[in-house]
Symmetry: C2
Subunit: 766 residues, 2 copies
């Protein structure tokens, strides 16, 4: 068994020794640098651009503006394409924009021999605008007088509105049922950013009749298709190479500036880098959607949910990017995790505004859903004086649940056990009783929140993956996937899966670390916590095919029937008694060099995944809050996960801790601050506060394992879930500690000090 073992990361040595090569380590003689010229208005139309001064700067090679670029609208979302036009992503992008839709929108680009000349040139590009009143919030954007930001694709600023209804009857009729408690609430989440270490960067050049782009991306195969759409050229003429990457967290599940990079190379016929600074990454790549939701719930005093209504608005910023998928995902979570006795209604809006474009970020709408829903659940439990865990257990998804919206089925669940473990760890029963009655300036509370999370995107979108294996002469295996290692440990996990199924030692599985669309098998990439499940299916299928081919060759070599043979510990053995038939090395040398019968044994299999499964989990947190300062200190925190079988517990722990850290930043302080023109004021890591190592409490985790029957190795999603429930657990602990329900993020002093006004007055009275 290699599954379940703490195999060291296959890329560990490369990364700790600095040998791992990232995009900017690929040196190219004569590489040109670029600087984008960005709009200084949030809503407007470029009327003229003067590039003469910029072009006169020594070192400047070219200046291109929105008037120069091709007019092929393209989408940027890291979604598999659809052959059905109705399901295709919204093509609302051009390489440079005359119609600017947020402060920082790209209008022109200066290409120069070095960065300094490019910056100097960019500073001298003079742009004239016709300006329109900016619409920053969904409400503004929906106002009748609001300018439609994308009239070419949408009449007004609603990207999509979608609704669902479960159960019969009219929701408002529930008001007449007198035994029901009616609770309403509005909850809202802020804009945050991924803050991956490696900034978005690509280097492109021409070779082999193609535009070749080395890019720090999660989705090389999708990027290839999008670049072709943007340039209006054949997909086969684009080649994407994804080397090691320094994090993505969903920002690199979008196609950012690679189409522009490709076009610049095409124009200049020289290698060009497009490097996006930290400041630009904040303002002009992607963010986590701010979502505001209005919830209406009828609950019986025994704790049973009777009917709920969700109306949510997602602020998508100036471009569609992942479009409605995130807001819809958020609304769906509200349906999936709890089931109501009578009915549930949901409506999700996704709205264009003059903000930076929101896109994919770890959790893909579910951190928002969890904050909204799990805050509300505590508000409900609080209102009916019920223990929040008991309240949730009563209403939560059970084994066998089939989601009416998606047909996704609960094939396995250890959610109950997750709750048990979390309660025990945090001392729930004791502390829920002891805490919550303090009247001092520093008060303690415990809170929790839970989630369900899909594994991949089926059936909402396509799930398909291919893996490829090659037998080396020494009996070792080359494993090549289109799935991408983005720091999450995919390569190591795939090596373990291959070793497990093939009976070859894991250290003899060599994983090709680069995804090169010219040679890598197709896979849509790293997102939706899909790879260990969907790409894992491809790895397993390929390993099984590989095993069959190896044993078939062994039959030709030894005349022993293949179906009597097995591979164990790097050798072909008899199934019956494990007797050595031939070592893998000897077999491989023959397969490669036999004069009578060579076969360069490889396998390549596509897994078209038509299933999905839920993972589950919960966060339990104990906090201390200073009423005077409005400051929360996290005393203890644990994430408990049911992600099926854990392939590599040490790496899984790393994922959990990283996600918890991201969740802590989300709840405690991260936020975008703008001026009234829409310019972000904290577009850097000095003013935008992510947690440092010193800011973290100790992070704890536990796994409640189960063997999911649909999964290749019993495994379910784990990459994104750890970040989902930290914020609501802490918000709920705050409610427990203080009785104050804070419904918008982050829970920083700026928000808490006014929220504690009443408390402070009470304290003054004492």
């Amino acid at each position: 068994m290699v599954i379940g073992k703490n195999i060291p990361r296959v890329d560990a040595v490369d990364k700790v020794t600095g040998r791992a090569r990232y995009t900017q380590d690929f040196a190219m003689p004569g590489l040109l640098r670029t600087r984008l010229v960005r709009s200084t208005v949030a809503n407007g139309l470029v009327t003229s651009i003067d590039t003469e001064k910029a072009k006169a700067v020594p070192g400047v090679v070219a200046v291109f503006t929105c008037f120069d670029v091709p007019q092929h609208p393209f989408p940027t979302a890291g979604h598999p394409w659809s052959v059905d036009p109705k399901h295709q992503d919204i093509s609302d992008r051009l390489l440079l924009n005359r119609r600017v839709r947020y402060y920082g929108d790209e209008v022109a680009v200066v290409v120069a021999k070095d960065e300094i000349s490019a910056k100097r040139g960019a500073a001298l590009v003079h742009i004239e605008y016709e300006t329109y009143p900016p619409v920053f919030e969904p409400e503004d954007a929906l106002a009748p007088e609001a300018t439609p930001l994308h009239p070419e694709v949408r009449e007004n600023n609603v990207i999509v509105k979608s609704s669902y209804k479960v159960g019969d009857g009219d929701f408002d009729d529930l008001a007449r049922e007198t035994d029901l408690v009616h609770v309403q609430g509005t909850y809202e989440t802020q804009v945050v950013q991924h803050c991956h270490i490696e900034l978005p960067v690509s280097r492109a050049y021409l070779e082999e009749g193609k535009i070749i782009i080395i890019s720090s991306t999660q989705i090389p195969h999708i990027m290839r298709r999008v670049c072709a759409q943007a340039l209006g050229c054949d997909i086969g003429k684009i080649r994407i190479i994804k080397p090691y990457i320094g994090g993505g967290f969903g920002n690199k599940q979008d196609v950012l500036y690679e189409p522009l990079n490709a076009w610049l190379v095409q124009q200049l016929q020289r290698p060009v880098e497009v490097f996006i600074s930290r400041e630009e990454t904040f303002t002009s790549t992607r963010t986590r959607h701010a979502i505001r939701a209005h919830l209406d719930t009828y609950v019986r005093d025994d704790g049973r949910l009777i009917g709920r209504r969700y109306i949510g608005y997602a602020n998508n910023g100036g471009y569609a990017s992942h479009g409605h998928a995130i807001s819809a995902n958020c609304a769906n979570e509200y349906r999936m995790l709890y089931q109501d006795e009578q009915m549930l209604e949901g409506t999700a809006y996704t709205i264009y505004t003059n903000r930076p474009a929101a896109g994919a970020m770890r959790g893909y709408g579910i951190p928002q859903a969890c904050f909204i829903m799990e805050s509300h659940m505590d508000d409900l439990a609080h209102r009916i004086h019920m223990d929040p865990v008991a309240f949730r257990r009563k209403n939560m998804m059970k084994l066998g649940y089939v989601d009416p919206g998606t047909t996704i089925t609960c094939h396995s669940t250890k959610l109950d056990e997750c709750l048990d473990i979390g309660m025990k760890y945090i001392g729930w029963t004791d502390k829920r009783t002891r805490y919550g009655h303090d009247r001092g300036v520093v008060r303690r509370g415990v809170g929790m929140a839970m989630f369900c999370y899909k594994t991949g995107v089926y059936p909402i979108a396509l799930e398909t993956a291919t893996a490829r294996m090659i037998l080396n002469q020494d009996g070792s295996i080359q494993l090549q996937t289109g799935a991408t290692e983005i720091g999450q440990g995919a390569a190591t996990v795939f090596a373990q899966m291959t070793a497990e199924t093939l009976g070859i030692s894991v250290e003899r599985i060599h994983v090709v670390q680069t995804q090169d669309t010219d040679t890598a098998p197709f896979d849509t990439g790293a997102y939706a916590s899909r790879q260990s499940y969907v790409s894992g299916m491809a790895v397993k299928k390929t390993a099984l095919s590989m095993k069959q081919k190896i044993l078939a060759y062994c039959e030709r070599l030894t005349t022993q029937p293949a179906d009597t043979l097995d591979i164990r510990a790097d050798a072909v053995v008899t199934k019956a008694d494990g007797a050595l038939v031939v070592s893998m090395e000897e077999l491989a040398m023959n397969a490669m060099y036999s004069l009578s019968d060579t076969e360069h044994i490889t396998a390549n299999e596509t897994a078209h995944c038509k299933d999905n499964t839920y993972s589950f989990g919960a966060t339990f947190a104990e906090i201390e809050v200073d009423i005077a300062l409005g400051k929360i200190k996290v005393i203890d925190i644990i994430n408990v996960h049911d992600s099926g079988i854990i392939i590599n517990p040490a790496m899984a722990a790393g994922q959990v801790h990283g996600g918890m850290s991201m969740g802590l930043g989300y709840v405690l302080g991260e936020d975008y601050i703008y001026d009234e023109q829409g310019k972000q004021l904290n577009d850097n890591l000095l003013y935008y506060k992510i947690l440092t190592a010193m800011d973290h409490p100790n992070l704890h985790h536990a796994f409640a394992e189960c063997n999911d029957p649909t999964a290749p190795y019993g495994n379910k999603s784990l990459g994104e879930p750890p970040t989902l429930t930290v914020a609501p657990a802490i918000r709920n602990a705050l409610l427990h500690a203080t009785g104050v329900a804070v419904n918008s993020l982050p829970l920083n002093p700026q928000r808490l000090v006014p929220a504690f006004d009443t408390l402070r007055k009470e304290m003054a009275h004492v």
Copy 2:
């Protein structure tokens, strides 16, 4: 039909724009440089090395000597490995040598931060030797008192001796048959070098737990295996990347300094380049074997060959490299091209001497065989007063010939037509009559020579190849081979083959230009003019498999039975009437993105080739010779080739002209000149004279095409043949012009002036 069309080279734009990246274009931060310290004695033993001064040079990082390197003897020949130890190449190499075997042998290596420091360091390494009398010629090496150069593998200096005999009886008994003419002759060829433009170079680094070597090589997969043997590590731990290369001509069919490079990286854990200068390339890579042969022939005066005997000695220099294969190949050609009425005997020796190691070079022993044999054939024809062409026609290989030594069969031949075309072009009949009677100082003559040439190495060694194809979304194809483009046009030819079999336009076949052993299919590489035949079989098999998969997918997509469908002009059509079923692009988009049925269509097939076939051809030349100056001027020259179907006539013409140029250098002037210590005196392109563009006559060519039944596309070997018969054709034209038979190469003034002594005396008498 794409076969037979002048498709532009797929790498043309990359090469003429300078975009094509060669080994040294792969920049690596912190790359260390090296300088080898070479022996200044031709035969000796290193007794001590002082590296202190070298280590003290600023910038020098390390100095390694023959006392430091691992003791894993390894072979260097670019041969497929054999699982049978009896057929494995001779492992007589170490990374650095204490026992030095030629002037220039590698004893130590200085590694430094830059080239200048490395050179400074190398100059300060002090080596003490115990010296032995050098043996430069086979005769010296075979003398009883000669030191055995490789006692670890051979008792004396005979690497291999091999003999064959065809027919019965005792050769010497032929002397008693009084109606036979007996002709003897000794012919000898000189040492020449490949003079590829790009010097041998590799850059190695560590990543992915492997030693990765970017190398200018013809044989990446073989190099991988040899490096592993040299380091005593698993083959799977070595990765070779072959980018564009600037020529090889067989020198890069040997593994040169890559094992040393790999070991240096392993020792220093930093990237290292090993770059071999032009001077070192001459002295310390590989050369074309000097072969001396003694021929004895009995011929009837009607022109029928009755019996022949060949005894040849190949000077292999200090290391086995390709060992006996070249000398044996030379002797085999003597058997194959002509058949004798009674008998034929051949004995080939390959001898270690204290010369630079001889190895593979375009033609692999056959340029030597052709000079030896075809000079002799003209001497025979001259002696019996028969037209040399008529004489050859009487004795040459006919359709259906089965070689008794190898079983290689003459499946197709247009040799007769080649001779017809050549005779007509050069005005043979007329000029053979008109010329040859001059008595002036400048005389003219016409001469010819012909050859047969195998296609690949079966059954002498393994022939196996795999190709891989991937369907892109736009209906274009990625073609990946382990076979290597080394300038000969392989990539273009494979694209044409793929297009032909798949029915997809050739411009939509994207050939992966880099062979990376981590992902490329296995293939032994570029040598033996094998790739268009053997790797072509793999391409065809893979294309057929690909077509089947595409049509099977089409059946699933359209329900039309696959066996009623065909692919033509980038679309699936009905076989019956060519009606459009679906474009390749639409099919590919569905295969990639269909929600119901995706298959990332790829194919990967191994062709284990168990056949071989002969190509044929001839050179006809007209020369003018200045008796006083000893100078030959080539007036007109044509090569006529039967290489089966010509896949790309324009590229084939390029091959022919290049080969003829090499042949002209061979006959007119190239030679190694040594001092008595064994130091080469002309180890540079100033003193070693290859022909410049100005030195060339116009080069003419013609093809006599035929469809070889064993070949994938009717094609036979063409890469090497053009260089084979230029030298003997010119030597024979000289014989015609002057009546003087010159039996050793090159035919330069130094050799011709003394050869014309008698003529000049005759002229003085007139």
